[in-house]
Subunit: 137 residues, 2 copies
DNA sequence: TACAATCCCTCTAGTAACTATAGAGTCAAG
DNA sequence: CTTGACTCTATAGTTACTAGAGGGATTGTA
């Protein structure tokens, strides 16, 4: 059973262009071609695309996915590496969360500056954004 | 007192290329030029660049900063708009945090799948990434 | 004065992961 | 036989920079 690109895209919940893109950057092997040059995908292609999409839904960079796809062939020899890769990604996500938390605090503080129109001559938010000392010197 | 681009970059803690970039995309007005065509910045330029950098440190998109720079001229007429803009950004950050939280949960669950080498025929992490049902159909 | 180390200039291309467009061919239904 | 949906390639655009080539300007030292 072979599928055309539109079918594949629908089944993996991604855009047709994205499927072609993955092929272009070498994440997805070249599919067969019909007489009229349409791409034709097998179940294996489909499975690999699902793997990629799942990794992407976990926000892994394509480079990591590329590595995983290779390591996947002999999972047991590479168990440690696979874990390292996942751990690294978890750390990345932790860092992002921490810095977003800081960001949120700063934004709420900034937002709290506004005492409404008429309360002073200048907008407190604008003043704060202009006058802070983080980027002096 | 006029400053050359390197000095400006150092004082605002950003790269020389970034300063030129802000000029190119119209966030920073064109500076004066020396006889030898070097960019020369005034204190006002410096202040505006600090404003931009502070907004960026809050992760605001350049487009929002562009709007703020305009609204800033008559802060009081635009108090409501300024608040809206900041609120929108806070919501964006909240959403990012929520989705990162989900992501972290999924990654930790995935990581927990690994029972160490030798425990089964296939790597559980790889199996989970392949076999999940999120991207079926 | 000569020279080297910095600085600065413009222009172009590269980054991540797609997304969108143009212009053309293919296929199935009515 | 024509309409609409699908597909193809190739190219450019997105965000916010960053890096590099190839050249001139300035500054400090010998």
């Amino acid at each position: 059973m072979l599928y055309r690109i539109g079918e594949v895209a629908k089944r993996t919940d991604c855009k047709v262009e994205t499927v072609r893109y993955y092929e272009q950057v070498g994440l997805l092997p070249q599919p067969y071609r019909s007489d009229s040059n349409y791409r034709l995908y097998s179940e294996e292609h489909l499975a690999q695309l699902r793997f990629i999409r799942h990794c992407r839904s976990l926000d892994m960079p394509l480079e990591d996915i590329r590595n995983l796809l290779t390591l996947r062939e002999q999972p047991h020899e590479h168990c440690a590496e696979i874990n390292t890769l996942v751990d690294k990604h978890i750390r990345r996500v932790n860092e992002q969360m921490a810095s977003l938390g800081q960001l949120r605090k700063s934004l709420l503080a900034l937002r709290g500056q506004c005492a409404g129109p008429g309360s002073s001559d200048t907008c407190e938010i604008v003043r704060e954004l202009s006058a802070c000392e983080c980027h002096q010197e």
